[in-house]
């Protein structure tokens, strides 16, 4: 019997696998929120896990109660109803008060983390990110460095309707840009978020945070990538912003402080002779709004 079952399961998975040429790239293990690489993202992750385990605990109790009732009080097993059981003040008070306690226990750490999230004092670098349909513009405040960041060409070609290109052959399909945001590790970076046309949202899961970029508003968000966590972190626009909302990645390259200094210096010297760099768009899917953008200020 058992062998039968496992055989059936294997067959079922084989069928699924046959449907999926992608099964080779199996990512079945992507079940949970990533822990992230900033202090805040770790706190957020632990809040997420705490509330999750509370839900599991309550679930074990509630579902256990339900299943117990459904099994123990089956009419087919001769259960007789106790029709006098219509009300019980004590029980009702208990199951009102206990949830309140659980909520208070949850609310305290959540409020603490929220206060930390909102604390944007002592930031070392400020970067303004402006959402455009469908690309991000980054301006390093006080540094005269500014550029656009949009879906890189290989993804853009593969994502066209019936492109014939297998997305699995494109590295970091849809999560790669022509020019990533570069920030140093171990530095409190403040993002100032706004938008030029419609509402966008800037999200890097590894940093634990997303925030809307809204025309006419400036929102703040900060992150401090832990020392030693250099690398490339990827996210996407998270607020529906029109046709190509799904094709507007956020890519952040975290480097050491020295590399960052060198990178900023290189950007400045590269920007000075030729002011065209940041407006030279790959034409494939350039939004009409690009032409109307104000010229990026150059030193």
């Amino acid at each position: 019997m058992k062998r039968h079952l496992s055989h059936a399961l294997t067959t079922a998975f084989a069928i699924l696998g046959g449907l999926a040429p992608l099964a080779a790239h199996a990512e079945w293990g992507n079940l949970n929120m990533p822990v992230g690489v900033t202090e805040l993202s770790k706190e957020i992750h632990s809040l997420h896990m705490t509330i999750f385990w509370w839900c599991v605990a309550i679930g074990v109790f509630v579902f256990g109660w339900m299943i117990w009732s459904l099994v123990a009080f089956r009419k087919s097993q001769g259960a007789k109803p106790d029709t006098t059981m219509v009300h019980n003040t004590k029980a009702e008070i208990i199951w009102t008060v206990i949830p309140v306690f659980i909520l208070v226990i949850m609310a305290i750490p959540a409020a603490r983390t929220l206060i930390a999230i909102e604390d944007t004092r002592n930031t070392e670098i400020s970067i303004k990110a402006t959402g455009h349909q469908w690309k991000w513009q980054y301006e390093y405040l006080g540094e005269d460095v500014s550029f656009f960041s949009q879906l890189e060409r290989a993804s853009d070609e593969a994502r066209q309707l019936n492109s014939g290109i297998d997305p699995t052959t494109v590295p970091d399909y849809l999560l790669n840009v022509d020019k990533p945001l570069v920030v140093p590790e171990d530095t409190k970076v403040r993002m100032l978020l706004t938008a030029n046309d419609v509402i966008h949202a800037w999200w890097v899961p590894a940093f634990g945070m997303k925030k809307d970029a809204i025309p006419g508003n400036v929102n703040e968000l900060w992150f401090k990538v832990e020392k030693g966590k250099t690398g490339i972190y990827r996210g996407q626009c998270a607020e529906l912003c029109g046709r190509d909302h799904g094709f507007m990645p956020v890519v952040v390259k975290v480097v050491t402080k020295d590399e960052y200094k060198a990178w900023i210096a290189a950007q400045k010297s590269a920007a000075n002779p030729a002011a065209t760099e940041s407006t030279a768009e790959p034409a494939a899917d350039a939004a009409p709004t690009v032409a109307a953008l104000p010229a990026v200020p150059k030193g």
């Binding site: 259960a79 997305p167 634990g208």
Partner: protein, 535 residues
């Protein structure tokens, strides 16, 4: 009932009804109008479902195989508008039309002509909305939430959509007024408010929510309209307006709207679980108070839909705490349902199966709702597939399952015929398996970082999207069985007795089967009311 058939039919007897098209066009009978609402809801459910299958087909694999991203956005937008305003809300109004007069001992709804008008607005509203699929610029694609400035970028669909929403709103308000007036004025003598079945109670509260918030939606979309055509700048930053203000106004409507979709479900489940547990509802009064508390709280939690817009810390804390509070009355309800089954004598007919699935799966949706209330964690969950999983869990195995449970439960009373229990159970199991395969993996996708409302995704999300799509097709096609079961019952079902469920209490079961055209021509006597009331 001289007032229900007037002009060309002076002669008036009890079961007299006009025939053919006129019966439906001029309908003033609560049962006919209820049927039309339910049929309309069913049609919209399949149209909205077809759009969902377009979405899931496109998401079956990474890369774009079937549709343009702009059309994809139209599909998500239209799917939501059709399902919310076209399927779930009219289905509830249809059930209210059928059941409220029967349950309170009235002959009909209080305002039969208004009833006719509020139904017949809907086909026109949705014809307008569906027409947008064929106008230049395509159907609305900015999400059902219509956030400006994006919604203002729509093409010719824009005024059609706004007008359609106005019509739906008027229809809902009129339907709600009818329910309120019927419940408050037409109850049989001797039936106090706290003798009413829970379905009437939850609908009464829902009706007040509708009357309170549909005008807010109308105001919000009218402001969009004037921003678009008449040069105002309510929501246009360059003119001194604020796009975030729209979101506040919209969600002041939107959150009560969420409860408009679910409160009547609480009512239906509170009817079905006692019936098949053969035991009175546990904590009837606390159920009523919990429903009222949920309705009250729904007005002070709206900004939890917009934690990422950048609110002051105090605002975020307030909305986090008020949102968490909702768990308390909702918990009371779930515990009361559990306590109702406890020491019962439970049997598992199709309505009960759907009610049990509701209990389990709505609770899962409640858990993810609790998680979403934690603001810092919401910064990760917001606008990801985790949210999609959450609200589909409360809407599909929540509201939709409760509607189906209600239809199975009352169908014998409506038609005088039993449905096929075997096919009903197959429909139940396919739906329940399908809905979980469809929506459970979306929790994983969201937590792993997949944003919602995207037509294509990075390859790391491929596996669970494929599973989800398989579930979608299973769930979608299983619903054809639902139509078959009903059709089959109406055409050739076995004759049903007056009380097909031995544990059923309530005035509707004191009527003959099928229920007479004018439900209670004379108010039921006290003894019958007492027999029907279970507490």
């Amino acid at each position: 009932m001289a007032n229900t058939a007037t002009h060309d039919h002076a002669h008036d007897d009890h079961d007299h009804k006009p025939h053919g098209l006129k019966r439906w066009l001029y309908a003033t009978n609560h049962k006919d109008i209820g049927t039309m609402y339910l049929v309309f809801a069913c049609v919209m459910f399949f149209l909205g479902g077809a759009m969902a299958l377009v979405i899931r087909a496109e998401l079956f694999q990474p890369g774009l195989q079937f549709v343009d991203p702009g059309f994809y956005n139209s599909m998500t937008t239209m799917h939501a508008l059709l399902m919310i305003f076209g399927a779930v809300m009219p289905a509830w109004t249809g059930l209210a039309n059928w059941m409220v007069p029967m349950q309170v001992g009235a002959p009909d709804m209080a305002l039969p002509r208004l009833n006719n008008f509020s139904f017949w607005l809907l086909p026109f509203a949705f014809t307008l909305l569906l027409l947008t699929l064929f106008v230049p610029g395509g159907a609305p694609a900015g999400g059902w939430t219509l956030y400006p400035p994006l919604s203002l970028q729509a093409g010719d669909s824009f005024p059609l959509t706004i007008f359609a929403i106005h019509l739906m709103g008027i229809s809902s308000i009129l339907g709600a007024i009818n329910v309120v007036v019927t419940i408050l004025n037409m109850r049989a003598p001797g039936m106090g408010l706290l003798n009413m079945p829970l379905f009437c109670w939850t609908w009464l509260i829902t009706a007040y929510l509708l009357i309170a918030v549909m005008p807010v939606l109308a105001g919000a979309v009218t402001m969009l309209l004037t921003d678009h055509f008449f040069g105002t700048a309510f929501f246009t930053a360059s003119g001194g307006g604020d796009p975030v203000m729209f979101q506040h106004i919209f969600w002041f409507f939107g959150h009560p709207e969420v409860y408009i979709l679910i409160l009547p479900a609480f009512g239906v489940v509170s009817e079905i679980i006692p019936t098949f547990s053969r035991k009175p509802l546990f904590g009837y009064e606390s159920m009523v108070y919990a429903t009222a508390s949920i309705a009250f709280l729904s007005f002070i939690v709206w900004a939890h839909h917009m934690f990422t817009v950048g609110m002051p810390l105090a605002g975020q804390l307030f909305f986090m705490l008020s949102t968490m509070l909702i768990a308390v009355p909702t918990g009371v309800k779930v515990f009361n349902w559990c306590a109702t089954m406890w020491k019962g004598s439970i049997s598992f007919e199709t309505p009960m199966l759907f009610a049990i699935a509701f209990l389990f799966l709505f609770t899962i949706g409640g858990f993810s709702g609790l998680m979403l209330a934690i603001v810092p964690a919401d910064f990760q969950y917001h606008d990801s597939y985790f949210v999609v999983a959450h609200f589909h869990y409360v809407l599909v195995p929540g509201s939709v399952f409760a509607i189906m449970a209600g239809v199975y439960y009352w169908l014998p009373k409506w038609t005088g015929r039993m449905y096929n229990e075997k096919v009903g159970k197959i429909h139940f199991w396919l739906s329940t398996i399908g809905v979980n395969v469809l929506f459970f993996p979306q929790h994983f996708l969201g937590l792993a970082g997949m944003p919602r409302r995207i037509p294509d995704y990075s390859t790391q999300f491929a596996d669970w999207n494929m599973v989800s799509s398989i579930g979608a097709f299973l769930f979608g096609f299983s619903q054809l069985l639902f139509v078959y079961v009903i059709w089959n019952a109406v055409r050739s079902g076995e004759k049903a007795v007056d009380r097909p469920w031995e544990g059923a209490h309530g005035l509707e079961w004191e009527l003959p089967t099928p229920a007479p055209y004018h439900s209670w021509d004379t108010p039921p006597p006290q003894a019958v009311i007492a027999k029907g009331s279970m507490h």
